[in-house]
């Protein structure tokens, strides 16, 4: 019956529309002019050198920073949504994962339920399921501060997941995950595991926007790519159009080349003048 209420307007259901956005930090203009759009069901990666404005742009999209221009999530201007309404629409994984008091893992993950109405789900099993998804079975009672950086990051991701558990909820627009460098503190197995999780979330109809440093993970998991440079959107489009040696070399001011196996599969980005030792 809830399906009847579903609007057919894609802008209200599945789109993130960014047009002419600029963001200041104090008096300094960090993001100057960026426009792009993302659609639920795809993974959008934001790449670019350090200081190009990726995280600042993310802060504007998640309602933390004031911005010029327009950021529309599910058809609504982000600056007009109160924190509760935003929390209903999207979860955010921040770069910094320090917490101030010794909560245990269950308590941290349960904070993801904070904006939920109490009757919605059986929370205990949901917490355990989320921990299983990020590969942390049996960590329920562990004190957060005692965990390694990578484990803390995965606990935070589990918290974000319980906040927006269903990629496409029964009674509303698609959910979004905003991830700020979700895998930079993880080992290679967990990098792939977490990116696969984001990939699955998108494949189930949710939206994923992620800031990435690792170009090869971007090649492996992103559908669309936004390349930032000096506060501008340098390029935006499908991964295979944007991720070219030429464009990436320009973006990072560093000669890069793309290699692939003999069938043209599994492309890799590596520095142009780099030889591994024999």
């Amino acid at each position: 019956m809830t399906l009847l209420n579903r609007s057919t307007d894609p802008e209200k259901e599945t789109l993130l529309l960014i047009s002419g956005v600029g963001v200041n930090a104090g008096r300094i203009e960090i993001v100057k002019e960026v426009s792009f759009s993302a659609v639920a069901g795809e993974v959008l990666a934001i790449i670019g050198p350090s200081g190009s404005g990726k995280t600042t742009l993310m802060r504007a999209m998640t309602g933390e920073s004031a911005y010029r221009g327009s950021i529309k999530l599910a058809g609504r201007q982000v600056r007009e949504l109160d924190p509760g309404a935003q929390a209903d629409l999207r979860g955010v994984l921040p770069q910094n994962s320090q917490i101030s008091f010794p909560l245990n893992v269950t308590e941290v993950v349960s904070l993801g339920f904070l904006c939920h109405r109490p009757e919605r789900v059986d929370r205990g099993p949901r917490v355990r399921e989320a921990l299983a998804k990020v590969g942390l079975n049996g960590f329920e009672g562990r004190i957060y501060q005692d965990l390694s950086g990578g484990e803390q990051q995965r606990v935070q991701l589990a918290r974000v997941l319980v906040q927006v558990w269903d990629p496409v909820p029964m009674d509303g627009p698609a959910h979004w995950l905003f991830l700020d460098e979700p895998v930079s503190s993880l080992d290679i197995k967990h990098q792939y595991q977490i990116m696969q999780l984001a990939r699955d979330y998108a494949d189930s109809g949710g939206g994923v926007v992620t800031v990435m440093h690792d170009l090869n993970l971007t090649l492996a998991f992103a559908d669309k790519v936004l390349v930032m440079k000096d506060g501008y959107g340098l390029a935006f489009g499908r991964r295979e159009e944007v991720m070219t040696a030429e464009l990436l070399s320009t973006a990072y001011d560093f000669p890069l080349k793309m290699t692939a196996n003999e069938n043209g599969e599994d492309p890799l980005v590596t520095p142009e003048r780099f030889r591994s030792r024999p």
Binding site: G84, F101, L103, T106, E107
Partner: protein, 378 residues
């Protein structure tokens, strides 16, 4: 069978099922039990404190008659109780015990809220200078209430002193927050340093007042320095109780937000908390409760640090339990300390601030040593 029981409990208490599904990592049952236990302990300590003193009274016989007398507002001395015992308990010990309970609860809860707000276990109204600001507000009225400020005094009556202390505490807290917070990030180092500076400044201003005070005012002023519940009476209780009770009633509404704030200000916003509103409400409550406490009992230190910290070690940092448990433990500890203060050198009295400082300061150092390197204090 077990399922049926679980289902029935869910139906009976829809909000408590949060805890039902967890096996590991669930500290809620412990926290709930500890809070109830502390509530009972507080009552016990209150009754014990009524009984203890230079004059022995049959407190258990008196309790039923006391509750009748309090509820009916009948000021006569009931039959079967010696008038001396009745007066000792009703006019001397009971207001003092109740004031001790309110002040202890206010100090401990203020500490817990401030630590949650500043995201640091060492934040406390006494340490960051809020108590000093409140003390200055109170001193202003003690010294100038009869002269320059007498119109305000007539207007506000017994509430003038607590309100002045409240204003002093509020102004210091707001200043601290403005100084310590840049771009939404509160630097605890800046905060503590600013607290020391503001404490020194308000201390100097209080010193100026001491300089112009007469002998009677000096005696009154002296007790801010040390903190004491001596001289408690029903009037003092009536002047502080409304502000402190209002704070204790409202503070549970901060619990959810303070829990979210453990993740940091940005993440608290991400999960749906209006962070600025939470900060404003917290500051108002801390300033109010601290101001009212300082107005009636002076500077009683360390309750606000020791109590929440002890509780976090046992029941965890969940503010839904930490705040009420702090109120109870703070009340019980302060009444116990006060009972000690008025019996240890009887018939004379020690200021209670001396006792809490003797117990609390080493504890504070112990926290510092224990936590050094474990959680950054930057």
């Amino acid at each position: 069978m077990n399922d049926a029981i679980a289902r029935r409990r869910i139906l009976a208490k829809p909000r408590s099922f949060i805890s039902m599904g967890f096996k590991a990592g669930d500290r809620e049952p412990l926290a709930r039990a500890a809070t109830l236990l502390l509530a009972a302990a507080t009552l016990g300590v209150m009754v014990a404190s009524l009984a203890i003193g230079p004059i022995a009274v049959p407190i258990l016989d008196m309790l039923p008659k006391m509750s009748v007398a309090l509820l009916s507002a009948d000021r006569g001395i009931p039959e079967g109780i010696s008038p001396r015992d009745w007066i000792v308990v009703m006019d001397i010990r009971l207001p003092r015990v109740l004031l001790g309970a309110l002040v202890g609860a206010a100090l401990a809860v203020s500490g817990a809220v401030m630590q949650g707000l500043f995201r640091n276990p060492l934040a406390d109204p006494g340490i960051v200078g809020v108590s000093a600001g409140a003390g200055f507000g109170a001193a202003l009225f003690i010294v100038l209430g009869g002269s320059v400020l007498s119109p305000v005094m007539t207007l506000l009556g017994i509430y003038a002193l607590p309100l002045a202390a409240f204003a002093g505490g509020l102004m210091t807290t707001l200043l601290l927050y403005r100084i310590g917070t840049r771009r939404g990030v509160t630097s605890v180092a800046t905060l503590l340093l600013a607290g020391i500076a503001l404490g020194a400044l308000t201390g100097a201003m209080t010193g100026l007042l001491v300089y112009v005070a007469d002998d009677q005012q000096l005696r009154d002023l002296q007790f801010w320095g040390l903190g004491s519940l001596a001289g408690s009476n029903w009037n003092k209780l009536a002047s502080a109780a409304p502000i402190i009770l209002a704070m204790l009633v409202c503070v549970p509404f901060l619990a959810r937000g303070l829990n979210a704030l453990i993740l940091g200000e940005a993440a608290a916003g991400h999960i749906g908390i209006r962070v600025q509103r939470l900060k404003n409400a917290s500051i108002l409550m801390v300033a109010g409760a601290t101001g009212a406490s300082v107005a009636v009992s002076g500077g009683i230190g360390f309750v606000g640090i020791v109590v929440p910290h002890l509780l976090r070690l046992t029941i965890g940092p969940d503010h839904r339990y930490l705040l009420p448990a702090s109120a109870f433990l703070g009340a019980a500890l302060l009444i116990a300390a006060d009972t000690l203060a008025r019996t240890i050198v009887a018939p004379a009295e020690l200021p209670i601030g001396i006792i809490t400082a003797f117990a609390g300061a080493p504890f504070f150092l112990w926290i510092l040593l224990r936590k050094r390197g474990l959680m950054g204090f930057s």
